[in-house]
Symmetry: C2
Subunit: 339 residues, 2 copies
Amino acid sequence: MPDTARRIVLASRPVGEPNPSDFRLEEFPVPAPGAGEVLLRTLWLSLDPYMRGRMSDAPSYAAPVGIGEVMEAGTVNEVAASNNDKFAKGDIVLGRAGWQTHAISNGSGLRKLDPKLAPVSTALGVLGMPGMTAYAGLLEIGQPKAGETVVISAASGAVGSVVGQIAKIKGSRAVGIAGGPDKCRYVKDELGFDDCVDHRAPDFAEKLKAVCPKGIDVYFENVSGPVWDAVFPLLNTFARIPVCGLIANYSSTEWPDMKYKTSQIFRAILTKRLTIRGFIVTDFAARHADFLRDVSAWIKEGRIKYREDIAEGIENAPAAFMGLLKGKNFGKQLVRVGT
Amino acid sequence: MPDTARRIVLASRPVGEPNPSDFRLEEFPVPAPGAGEVLLRTLWLSLDPYMRGRMSDAPSYAAPVGIGEVMEAGTVNEVAASNNDKFAKGDIVLGRAGWQTHAISNGSGLRKLDPKLAPVSTALGVLGMPGMTAYAGLLEIGQPKAGETVVISAASGAVGSVVGQIAKIKGSRAVGIAGGPDKCRYVKDELGFDDCVDHRAPDFAEKLKAVCPKGIDVYFENVSGPVWDAVFPLLNTFARIPVCGLIANYSSTEWPDMKYKTSQIFRAILTKRLTIRGFIVTDFAARHADFLRDVSAWIKEGRIKYREDIAEGIENAPAAFMGLLKGKNFGKQLVRVGT
């Protein structure tokens, strides 16, 4: 075992888009576990859009990462040494070790993974937080019915790709919105959405309307911005809008004005009886067992597919994260930290 | 029986605030009921803010009243003549005869009222559409819990007054917002809300904040405009916002811009996990029997009080309606059309 560990700390709070100087790679001695503790060696690190929020000290649902502190993240780890009865050396666990190669844990919050059931990286994606976000947000808030039209932004991403595939399983028409023809082809041809529209196309709004001839009953909001502006006029009476993310705005110093004003949004909320509801995955923790049961089965049946975009090495985490915010990833963004 | 009936028709579509020339009083011969029909004589006419929407041909949840057509309204009527087995002369019924002294009905949609159970005018107010709107919107969408803070705009009105009293019955803190000290005194001292704030006061926003020391868990939206601007920063995580009306905007030719932009609303929806949901009373028709049972009991127990503001004579309906849009009424606005 090497005696030097590495981590990425937040060097400064990004103003607008994060840039490399907001992060710092540090070396530190591999720590030794105390009584009841385990030493974790990181195999996989998950990068997710919510992390942009943790870099900011604006009010949100979670405290920010402090300057000089290691960035937070969900991880898959190997137990490298254990003073805890519940974990043995060699166990593979899901944890929150952050952007670092090694971490100490008292075992709280760790969940053992069985590498025979599924590739362990899926515990950070389709069978992890993004998959659960998709499952709970769509089924608890979106409540898609057979024959309804479900539109999903960021449709090729870790959350959106699962939303659309579950919508199909529920008998809805699934229409994706993604950035660029490659992602749109993937969403339609590989994931099996009924259609997918490229939000970068100059006639995006017209194209979206054309592929939603019966309007939109559920809009799974991941992005905000011009995508919302195109979706809003197409919403049907009783449409449901789970608000999962607003990634188009995450790096804006001043959130941009949108086409439709607050008074227009409220008018539609009333006259169309819309439901708009924000959520984060932990709000629906009670559904976690249902999620694991259903989505595992759907993966085995070939009804849910997934794709991973893998960066190599902890030192490449900042660049991969910056790319994620710009939609450069294709599938669930991971960093392979160790093997 | 006089052989001349009177009605108010829509003479023109109001631009901005309705004015007297948008209405026309007409006389017409009292009609004779055909086979299976009844002649209704109107006793009470209900005036409600939603009627402003029916005067406009902008897209909404219901078709507009045509130019030259009688204005729609809920009414309490006496059956003046009957060729319908289900109704006898002298029966008192709840119907939708509109702004007129007499109307013909085939009996469809009429509901017999028992004058011994409650004053029949309550079928247009606390035991009618406004009461049901309050009951369903608060309990189905607002879902107030004991100890939570429920804020109600237009708190002295037909809907708001019932919302706050039910919130109290459910153990919540009820804070009203109303126009002027007389209404606020009534809301607090007679209806038993915990507090009431005058939205016309120059320091309204500060006063609202002061009487909501734990923030706002449910905001029952009847008005929009500056009242929303004051409420919005006080909303708690997981707050629920039933959107029942936006009366501040109903007479605006261009809906005014609001303090908080669309992007700020969405940011709060996500970070505070708000639920904003529009509704109209018929969306919850399945709860009507529960409503009648509960609210009738609460009135008998003295836990729900109500107040009526009565205009005299069909000719005064337009003026009373214009006053209603400006908040000049004090309690449920009715017109006594006959006795």
